[in-house]
């Protein structure tokens, strides 16, 4: 969940209790993807796998469509969402680009140039 409160820098997600409750089942699903057998099963029928873990309709849609931003909005923790991205062969820098509206290459270049300096 994005927050503008005193707890969080602007435009930054704080994975707090409410977010963790919202994303609990989806993050549990991501946790299983560390196991090769689970990855195979997931890839064979992603919708059924989501249903088995009790994801909401919106969460299922986000997972099936690889809508990384929506996963965060729906309670995904980056440490868990990343396990899905890893399965897809994507990097943390790729996700960084998605979340900031850049290509992976531009994101990497921005990080090498010192990263964000406005906060």
């Amino acid at each position: 969940m994005s927050s503008e409160s005193a707890l969080a820098p602007p435009k930054t997600y704080v994975f707090d209790g409410a977010a963790s409750r919202q994303g609990y089942r989806m993050n549990k699903l991501f946790m299983t993807l560390r196991d090769p057998a689970a990855r195979e099963e997931f890839l064979a029928d992603e919708a059924a796998y989501c249903e088995r873990f009790g994801l909401s309709e919106a969460q299922t849609k986000a997972v099936l469509g690889r809508d990384w931003q929506a996963m965060l909005d729906l309670g995904g923790s980056i440490f868990y969402v990343y396990k899905l991205a890893m399965m897809d062969g994507l990097s943390m820098q790729y996700l960084g680009g998605v979340f900031t509206g850049m290509s992976e290459a531009d994101f990497k270049a921005a990080m090498l140039a010192g990263g964000r300096t406005d906060v």
Binding site: S2, D16, G17, N27, L72, M86, G96, V119
Partner: protein
């Protein structure tokens, strides 16, 4: 009594471990980092500890979201290296030191820290990357047993900085009171830069999480005859910024 002889703080981003595992440390993007580690590594190699305490955080590999402890301590005699989803790192499993673990547990509990006790724990890159930075070529085993001390950084609320500082101070006292005549060392907290998701297009974020690392070295001797023994801790070499 035991003595802290060194402390080390370092980033633990998984790509550091991957760069080492894939032989990329001399590539232009990585070389400056590993060059920076060199003086510390040389110094550390000359000061081998008998046991270490590593304060770190798990990243959804040893701990799931069902049960999220604030502070945890491992009391096992062995910790497996976790498979984080890309195969386990080609590094040895970690040998623990249950006696020291239980001593620390008792003393930290007596000081009012509400520790969670792990008898089984898979350690992830938050643990193995600092070990690799210390010992790039461990061979069959790490140089000494290691006790894991866990700090939650995954789910808010995390412990306050004041609470972490107090824990570190209590850890120092607990190490000092360890009964075997010994020397020990401690890893100071380290910032772990993580690219953190923000939704504003065009802005990238960089955020520090409290990936603390405290390492303790305890040399057990039946008599205090260590020539290198000093009465105060040596300053930790600066391994990286």
């Amino acid at each position: 009594m035991s003595e802290v002889i060194w402390g080390l703080a370092t980033s633990h981003v998984p790509s550091i471990g991957a760069a080492m595992d894939r032989g990329m440390t001399q590539e232009p993007v990585w070389k400056p980092l590993f060059d920076g580690y060199r003086p510390a590594r040389e110094w550390l190699a000359q000061h081998k500890p008998d046991v270490a305490v590593l304060v770190y955080n798990d990243h959804a590999n040893g701990i799931d979201l069902d049960i999220v402890p604030t502070f945890g301590i491992g009391t096992a005699d062995r910790y497996s290296v976790a498979d984080e989803g890309f195969g386990r790192r080609p590094v040895p499993d970690v040998v623990g030191d249950p006696d020291l673990s239980l001593h620390l547990l008792q003393n930290l509990m007596d000081e009012g820290f509400d520790l969670t006790v792990f008898q089984e724990l898979n350690v992830d890159h938050g643990f193995t990357v600092p070990l690799s930075i210390w010992t790039p070529e461990p061979g069959e085993a790490w140089p000494c047993p290691v006790v894991p001390l866990l700090v939650n950084v995954i789910q808010y609320p995390q412990p306050t900085a004041a609470r972490c500082y107090a824990l570190g101070q209590a850890l120092g006292r607990a190490l000092a009171s360890y009964e075997a005549p010994a020397r020990s060392a401690s890893w100071a907290p380290a910032a772990c830069p993580t690219s953190s998701p923000g939704r504003a297009p065009g802005s990238s974020t960089r955020r520090s999480t409290t990936c603390s690392s405290t390492r303790s070295r305890t040399t057990r001797r039946s008599s205090p005859r260590s020539p290198a023994r000093t009465s105060s801790a040596r300053p930790a070499p600066r391994a990286s910024s």
